[in-house]
Symmetry: C2
Subunit: 269 residues, 2 copies
């Protein structure tokens, strides 16, 4: 019986922790759930810790003190990380993705749950230490990966718009220049973010960094610190080196022939 | 030792299944993972089945045949369902959400991971039987809930745009009329969906159903069946009753005073 009980406790605990990644679950929650003593629950936690590491699931961490409890953080895939990114690179190099004008079709990849959760786990894993308080993205293609990153960090997602919407209330608008030299507008509801909080930028694509810089200036207006940025695909460009605080999952460049597109993992991976 | 092994197997199996909801994981995957016999793995599956139900985590199902294996489907929260929706209704009724023009501010709720995963679990739970092959939404506010629904069903997400983008390739554009009588355009890349497949529409808001009808006509152009639609919030309007195949999580109406806004759970909940 007790054996079954432990089986259950471990499986259910890991499931509960895994469904709310990065959130601290108080020991008491599990004590009540299983009607077991705190000592039992913390024994279980130790077992889960080893188990989660051995199978590369993530980090189970015990936090002491008033706000104490157990926290699960999905591993940023460990050694599997580079391998997964290489697989994404291969998919993006499929020849039929090149569109008229030399654009790369990537919308399917950017909303494929399993591909996007790989991206999000890697972004979350590298960003936990930055202690962001919310995720910021700009509509539209970056929203899925930004949302799964927000979920993996249990943080709210904030979406900047191209223009002010009536149902967003009063908003702050800024203008920014895109890589192609166009002036565009970025708009964010006044009530969307708290002054003095910390933002992590997540976006799908970077060419020259116009949009990311736009989001930086937008955050200045809100007196918000940008603690870092994660982008799925960045164009390699000698004139626009990728800033230190920007983690690009994949780098896009032209092959010698100037025609074929090459995609490789970011150097930090 | 063997005791520990079973502890591990159950916890890791449930975690693996839970991280790819609705996806069929072959028994062989677990046999290799643990170096155990198929008989052992199926014993474990039976245990998980009971466990997952007892703790209201979801349904662990065994599928036999060539494409056989184990599948986990998060429960649509069971009896907790209505309770969770009522909590969302309360949040939407907070007086300071009413914006100039009588609009309701809901962007925060629509990108709060825990609120959105509740919505997504309910949408997924009610939609599994419809056997959709992809999730369709229209930019922008509906994308987070559409993405988590796609994740909960392990289906690709397809995002219709307001206008054709160069990086989407050749697209099909249709015009549709909004509740306010404006004519708008909806655009979708030709390569985004496969002819003859089945779509589930997920959107954040419905007033009169202009956008949902737009998505229906867009799918006609692609010869795609719309098997159903899920919306987070629908305006109650005698002139525009909510269609049979549309599941609205919450219903919005004006109080007697014609001023205050009332939000209640959909009648199907």
């Amino acid at each position: 019986m007790d054996k079954v009980k432990r089986n259950e406790r471990l499986a259910v605990m890991l499931h509960v922790l895994g469904s709310a990644p990065n959130r601290i679950v108080p020991f008491s929650t599990f004590c009540e759930m299983f009607g077991s003593a705190k000592s039992t629950v913390s024994e279980d936690t130790d077992l889960l810790q080893k188990m989660a590491l051995r199978y590369g699931l993530g980090k189970v961490e015990t936090l002491t003190g008033a706000a104490g409890g157990v926290r699960f953080r999905p591993l940023d895939l460990g050694e599997k990380r580079r391998e997964r990114v290489l697989a994404l690179c291969e998919r993006l190099e499929e020849p039929d993705r090149v569109l008229p004008g030399g654009f790369l079709y990537q919308s399917d990849l950017l909303s494929d749950p399993s591909a996007v959760s790989d991206m999000a786990r890697i972004f979350a894993g590298v960003s936990y230490p930055l202690l962001p308080e919310f995720i910021l993205t700009m509509e539209t293609k970056g929203i899925p990966v930004a949302m799964l990153t927000a979920q993996a960090m249990s943080l709210p997602l904030v979406i900047a718009r191209h223009s002010n919407k009536v149902y967003e209330g009063s908003a702050v608008n800024i203008s920014y220049m895109t890589s192609s030299g166009r002036i565009e507008t970025m708009s964010l509801s006044r009530r969307a973010v708290r002054e003095g909080s910390r933002a992590l930028i997540v976006d799908d694509f970077m060419r020259g960094g116009g949009t990311v810089n736009g989001m930086r200036s937008l955050m200045k207006e809100f007196h918000v610190d940008v603690v870092g940025a994660c982008v799925v695909l960045a164009v390699e460009d000698a004139n626009h080196p990728i800033p230190q605080d920007v983690k690009a999952l994949m780098l896009l460049s032209r092959g010698e022939d100037g025609q074929t597109l090459k995609v490789r993992p970011g150097d930090w991976l």
